[in-house]
Amino acid sequence: MREEIISTKNEAMAQIMDADSSAELEELRISYLGRSGKLTSLIKRLKEIPGEERKEVGILINDSKSAIESLLAEQKNKLGEVAREWFDPTIPGIKPKRGHLHLITKAIGEISETFKQIGFVRVRYPEAEWDWFAFEGLNMPKAHPARDEWETFFVDTSAHPTYGQIVLTPHTSSGQIREMKRVKTPPIRMINIAKCYRRQIDASHVPMFHQFEGLVIDKGISVAHLKGTLDYFARNFFGKERKTRLRPFHFQFTEPSFEVDVTCGICLGKGCKVCKEGWLELGGAGMVHPTVLKNGGIDPKVYSGFAFGWGVERTYMMKSGLSIPDIRLLYSSDLGFLKQF
């Protein structure tokens, strides 16, 4: 049988080499490797061969089969365009239906993942909250002019005797005292991401948006740790060449308070049309005010901490370099927009 196999193989190889159209090659494939092809029928006869020998012959047949198959493929590729079987790779395919997660969901995912790496715990606190958590507990008494910075929505219900009116949280900082009361004994490393509301609407403001708030409280927490955390975030979220800087600012609930900038992703700090002399404003930060620690039930003589709270939408725009001209687009339900991401 061995001779038969070898001669069948040689015969096939010779014929394949001579073939000059794809139809001819297909015929040859059928006549050797098809259901009742010459080589196939030899395979069927294998069981007639006794024990030890069967294995060797089997290997020989398989090798011959592979040799024929690869020569067929090789010969097909050698054929000129006209002799080839017609195939149009440019015709549009049938696309499977694809779903889309919203940009804000992606942003929240990436932000929480980045902070998770350095031990931050994600939480969520009320979006309709007592005035006390949003303002008074954060060192902003009722008539304080600092409140003007937050255009706050008030809910039309009766006030709580201790906690005051219900407001729609204008910032995620209202979660700070909630977190202190939840954890009780530091360490605290919180990342609070939630919806926020402010009475404003234009191309760069929407009445509902998202913020993420970081809060770290432990013994010996310093401005250096805040800088370290912000730099870590900038490197891992924006890109490893990006840096942050602090500038003085003021919030009632932090002391000192800062404005945080990140180097512009386009000019990397050299200064260009997009940025302000190489820097983009990220948002506020600061060392937690001792009064706020006290209000959260934490002894400011033992512990210190820092906090920062920034807009999710704004931060993500600065990462991706998406130039969305109007932030209101993010909240549109137009599929033409949503399917781009």
């Binding site: 779903g99 919203h102 969901t105 919180m190 500038r247 210190s304």
Partner: protein
């Protein structure tokens, strides 16, 4: 608040060779933020705690401290004042003052004022800061306010009847017409001034009264410079919606010592520009002059907050450059606060901020905190929510974020806002349905079927408490030609019979159905869904023996519930491992059935037995007829 400072005006008080862009850069890094420079005018953001820098002199003083830290020479040129004589009693004005409302009250009579145009240099500077020049008297007030940060008012002296003033709290219901012609009904607690005939002539700190205003015929002016209680001023300014520049300064608590500069500079300009002659004695009622406040801290505290040590000499040098006095006792540092920072510097942390910003935040180290990590949040919902979103995305769903503020008819039981932006966003939503319907309608032109979904809180009112914030999953499927039949309870907004609740252990997880507008809609309580969800089912061994698979077609009488048929098949026969509904055609339902036994391969005879049992059961229970 944002202020504008012309560069030339600043350089009257700041002696430096630094360029304007250097000044802007260094101020921003260590002091107030300079947003931009336009036509040689700095646009500066002043935070609420630093009203002391809301002026030309204030910025100059700050810059004179900051620039040298960056190696740039700079010096403050103090305000030059004429010789002033203060007295708490004068002949030309009798004053009764409530000291709680007005810690310092000063006034001086300037006679024979010639009202006219201001010189060009003054007009140009006022125009550069956004103030329209009017006449020399008004312009001087505005000029002094912008230069020093101290509001200044002028009365027509001859209109103050009886040459007398009583500064007191208003009574509820009193009426006063300010010089802009608006008449206000006061709610009480406003600071007002009454003259000798009991007329209200000034809404103090906010705006002067019309009946005492300077006009073209004015000859004698009373120059008026005070410090007011910030709480009263804010209250009045907010409730009457009179947000004048003076009010935004007074409400932040001004330095009473600044009154000296204000009145001095006012007199100087009046004499120079109006030809008027000032009385020798200035009325000055100032019963409690500023005594320097002391804040104590120590070098270890400062180092622990900064994350690095700073030398004592450096600390002292920085603080002194900002106008503080310092004294060391070993590690302890005593700091005396200048009057212009008294409202802002209270605690050691405030002193740390002063040191840190001048030392330079860029000079501080940057390092991650050591220490233990907090415990993870028990039972955190975030992973589950992400999973649900990814599943829906896998089904071709497109996620939307819609506003949670809706109109009354979209949330008839929802919480109402006191100060909404408009009728269409006056209520907090209690369901995602109205928002998703709007979203679907926005895509009405879409040719292909689509599926939108959102996961967001709805806000369910609770009496005397915060609303229940329920994380809700909603979805809407548009223009799908689905012939699904849905059973169970009817509900509002849904077509009859085409609505179901999904329950687990009697608790409603969500609902699903066809809306009257033709969309399919679903809404789930994400928390309930999460509770019902099991991360990993227990392992089921993969069957060792193959299943026999066949299709069976039945016809059922109309109004048969197919869900019940499927339940019956599984409960009545253990050998049916799986059952799927295939085609539905004219009341004929084709099912694919998998017959399988855990321990053996079922024979044809055994399968036939199961099939017969099944068809018989379906016939008896549902009246089903086998079609094939």
């Amino acid at each position: 608040m944002d202020i504008k400072i012309p560069d030339t005006w600043l350089r009257d008080f700041l002696k430096t060779k630094a360029t304007s862009s250097e000044v802007a850069k260094y101020l921003s890094l260590s002091g107030p933020s300079v947003e931009k420079i336009e036509k040689s005018v700095y646009f500066i953001e002043v935070t609420t705690n630093r009203v002391d820098i809301a002026s030309v002199v204030g910025v100059a003083r700050e810059a004179a401290a900051i620039l040298p830290q960056f190696g740039v020479k700079a010096r403050l040129q103090p305000v030059k004042l004429p010789l002033l004589k203060f007295s708490n009693k004068v002949g030309y004005l009798e004053a009764e003052v409530n000291h709680n409302l007005c810690p310092r009250f000063s006034a001086v009579l300037i006679k024979n004022v010639q009202i006219g145009q201001s010189p060009d240099w003054m007009k140009d500077r006022l125009a550069a800061v956004g103030v329209r020049p009017i006449n020399n008297v008004v312009d001087i007030s505005n000029y002094v306010m912008h230069e020093l940060g101290q509001p200044v008012h002028t009365f027509d002296y001859d209109k103050i009847r009886g040459a007398k003033m009583i500064l007191m709290e208003s009574r509820k219901g009193e009426r006063l017409t300010t010089l802009d012609g608006k008449t206000h009904t006061l709610s009480g607690g406003d600071i007002v001034i009454e003259d000798g005939e009991g007329r209200l002539i000034d809404l103090a700190g906010i705006m002067g009264g019309g009946n005492s205003a300077v006009d073209e015929g004015t000859k004698n002016v009373l120059l008026f410079v005070q410090t007011y209680n910030p709480v009263n001023i804010r209250q009045t300014s907010m409730s009457l919606a009179q947000r004048t520049e003076a009010a935004t300064l007074f409400e932040k608590g001004l330095d009473p010592e600044l009154v000296t500069d204000g009145i001095g500079r006012g007199i100087e300009l009046f004499v120079k520009l109006t030809g008027g002659k000032a009385e020798k004695e200035i009325l000055d009622i100032y019963p409690n002059p500023y005594k320097a406040k002391k804040v104590t801290t120590d070098i270890d505290f400062i180092a622990s907050r900064l994350g690095t040590g700073v030398e004592k000499e450096k600390i002292s040098q920085i603080l002194r450059s900002l106008g503080f006095e310092t004294a060391w006792r070993g590690k302890i540092l005593e700091v005396l606060v200048p009057s212009f920072r008294a409202g802002d510097i209270e605690i050691p942390e405030d002193v740390v901020e002063e040191i840190a910003r001048l030392y330079g935040y860029h000079n501080l180290p940057s390092e991650l905190m050591p220490g233990d990590l907090p415990e993870p949040l028990k039972d955190a919902p975030f992973g589950f929510e992400e999973k649900v979103k990814n599943i829906l995305k896998g089904y071709g769903g497109v996620e939307v974020y819609t506003f949670s503020l809706v109109a009354l008819e979209e949330a008839p039981t929802g919480l109402k806002l006191k100060n909404p932006l408009g009728k269409e966003s006056e209520y907090l939503r209690t369901s995602l349905m109205p928002s998703l319907l709007t979203a679907a309608r926005q895509n009405a032109g879409e040719k292909e079927p689509f599926h939108l979904f959102e996961m967001a809180n709805v806000y369910l009112p609770k009496k005397g408490d915060l609303p229940d914030e329920k994380m809700t999953l909603g979805g809407i499927v548009g223009e799908l030609n689905v012939k699904s039949e849905i059973f169970s309870e009817d509900a509002a907004h849904y077509l009859p019979n085409r609505h179901i609740y999904l329950k687990v252990k009697g608790k409603i997880l969500g609902e699903f159905g066809e809306l009257s507008q033709g969309y399919l809609y679903y809404e789930f309580d994400a928390e309930a869904l999460r509770e019902a969800y099991r991360e990993i089912e227990s392992f089921k061994p993969i069957p060792k023996y193959p299943a026999q698979i066949e299709d069976l077609t039945f016809s059922f009488p109309s109004r048969t519930k197919i869900g019940e048929v499927i339940d019956y098949v599984f409960s009545s026969n253990k050998s049916v491992a799986k059952m799927e509904l295939g085609d539905i055609y004219n009341e004929n339902y084709t099912f694919r059935l998998w017959y399988q036994h855990p321990d053996k391969t079922l024979t044809d005879i055994e399968v036939e037995k199961v099939r017969n049992q099944l068809t018989k059961g379906l016939k008896n229970k549902f009246g089903a007829i086998v079609k094939s």
